[in-house]
Symmetry: C2
């Protein structure tokens, strides 16, 4: 089978590509080719069966070329993230809305016998305050950022194109990914990874919110698992509602710190420096904290078991990368 | 003040225009000019203060010209309706999505000191089965038609452009308008008006569904009232959720028939011919039946009082038109 990953140079996209290339199969079928597309080349660990392409998905012709060889499964992960989409209104809509629509239109333009699986990464940013205590699968999607609005428009298009039979879409709303590897970034959510990753590396990390704050998180491995399941699952039970909130873990800062203590001891926890930041507290207060993702669980998506396992998985990744 | 009505040749748009021209004011301010735009000229009853323009809102330059003289209030009612958007996928997206986006972008392009009120007509078609028994204001919007998806995308854009301060938007989800004047049309919902309008004119009307079917309806007068209130209300209490389900009446076919009997007698009711149609029954079974539109009521939108009043209002309109 032929695969296309759009957004293959991002943290999750690259991990997905490496996993598929290592497995060599997807849903029991042999992977013959994988096209890895992003704004820069992903630099995957093998060139066997892989074509890496750098380009711009807000350019219609570029997207049409990507679809022209009719991949069986298309993963669409490319996006301008929340902060940048808020700062650059035009760029956010160009990539997140127009790019997505060009992709869906290019698939439709291939015609009647072409009917690929399309896996679209959405986000819990499609939800906005005020929330239910545990957000159910029938709660209103009322985004409060341009990124959330763009992701939600993509969901509506995915549902409509799937309903019309132009492709077979599944949208997955990712939790915040923790522990993100690499260096600290400027995202308002960055501290959720930072307070684990930095102490494990012997470095200080700033905690800008109260210990009582809860958040909806999933590990990088869980995120790849969601994508692989979305690519291979039976979509018939989804009906017209193709987009699902993924099962994360609802953890408080206290939960995270105690898990860190259990895995790495008091010395690690001592690296967490409480520096309340009213701007970040206000942003985080507008984020959803907990969900009841019953449809996703019924459809076979599997959450992380507990936060200590997430930390241990991150430690293994770090050892692999440096060893 | 300067007004622009996009979709001024439709049933509701024309009624809105005539009402405003008759009143001469909107929210206490004098109406200096009204531009009435649609795919055909509306043919309003006066040319005083009115400019009628025929054009295509899926043409970006046309929309930019409409916005260039900076109307204070813009009513956007233009749409490809449900049946046609389902039959002609490209046309539906071109008018309902691209046209709406061109309008919003043209307003934004005018720059910082231009901040009009934008009143956008959405629809209860943004909802799709399975439903709550009474649909609340936090229920998921999961459309099951391309029209519903396009209207919902417009809602997301309206919310986002309003949140960013590019304009001051209000979206109103209209119930099915009953009694629609004029001839029967081919819409699946047409019989809701037909079983009242035709008997009152001494003509037979087909009832294709069971008497127990309930539906969410509003009169043409109520629809104009919603639009005028949306144009003049204080939007601050709406927060980020600018789009509201309008307060309709939940009436069953039995309710409608008994109201007809009370107003026009058994002879009128005898014109209703029960001819069950499985196709229409299936379509109607997928429509929402009842709502709890609490936010709209709190924001001052006013529903029809009862279905007999709707019928009497239709009779007065008919007398005016023929007298």
């Amino acid at each position: 089978m032929k695969l296309l990953i759009i957004g293959a140079a991002g943290m999750v996209g690259r991990r997905l590509a490496e996993t598929i290339l290592r497995d060599g199969t997807l849903g029991g079928a042999r992977v013959d080719t994988l096209t890895a597309f992003d704004v820069v080349k992903a630099g995957l660990s093998t060139t066997d069966r892989v074509t890496e392409i750098a380009g711009d998905i807000s350019d219609r012709a570029t997207v049409e070329r990507l679809v022209a060889d009719r991949p069986d499964v298309i993963f669409h992960l490319a996006a301008i993230v929340s902060g940048e989409a808020e700062a650059d209104f035009d760029k956010g809509y160009a990539i997140n809305l127009d790019g997505t629509r060009y992709l869906f239109e290019a698939i439709r333009a291939q015609g009647g016998d072409y009917h690929p699986r399309v896996v679209y990464t959405s986000s819990i940013a499609v939800f906005g305050a005020p929330f239910e205590d545990k957000i159910t699968d029938t709660f209103i999607t009322a985004p409060m950022t341009s990124y959330g609005a763009q992701k939600m428009i993509g969901e509506l298009l995915l549902n409509d194109y799937s309903r019309k039979g132009f492709f077979d879409g599944v949208g997955i709303r990712l939790p915040t990914i923790v522990v993100r590897p690499g260096k600290p970034n400027k995202a308002a959510s960055g501290f959720f990874s930072g307070i684990i990753r930095e102490p494990l590396a012997g470095l200080d990390a700033v905690l800008p919110v109260d210990d009582s704050v809860r958040h909806w998180v999933a590990s990088p491995d869980a995120a790849v698992g969601f994508l692989l399941h979305a690519a291979t699952m039976d979509t018939a039970p989804l009906g017209a509602r193709r987009c699902l909130t993924m099962p994360g873990l609802c953890v408080s800062i206290t939960d995270m710190i105690e898990a860190l203590r259990a895995v790495a001891g008091d010395a690690a926890v001592a690296h967490i420096k409480r520096e309340p930041d009213q701007t970040i507290r206000t942003i985080v207060a507008g984020w959803p904290q907990d969900f009841a993702p019953e449809r996703a669980l019924a459809a076979g998506f599997v959450a992380d078991t507990d936060f200590q396992s997430i930390i241990r998985s991150h430690l293994r990744d770090t050892a692999d990368a440096t060893g």
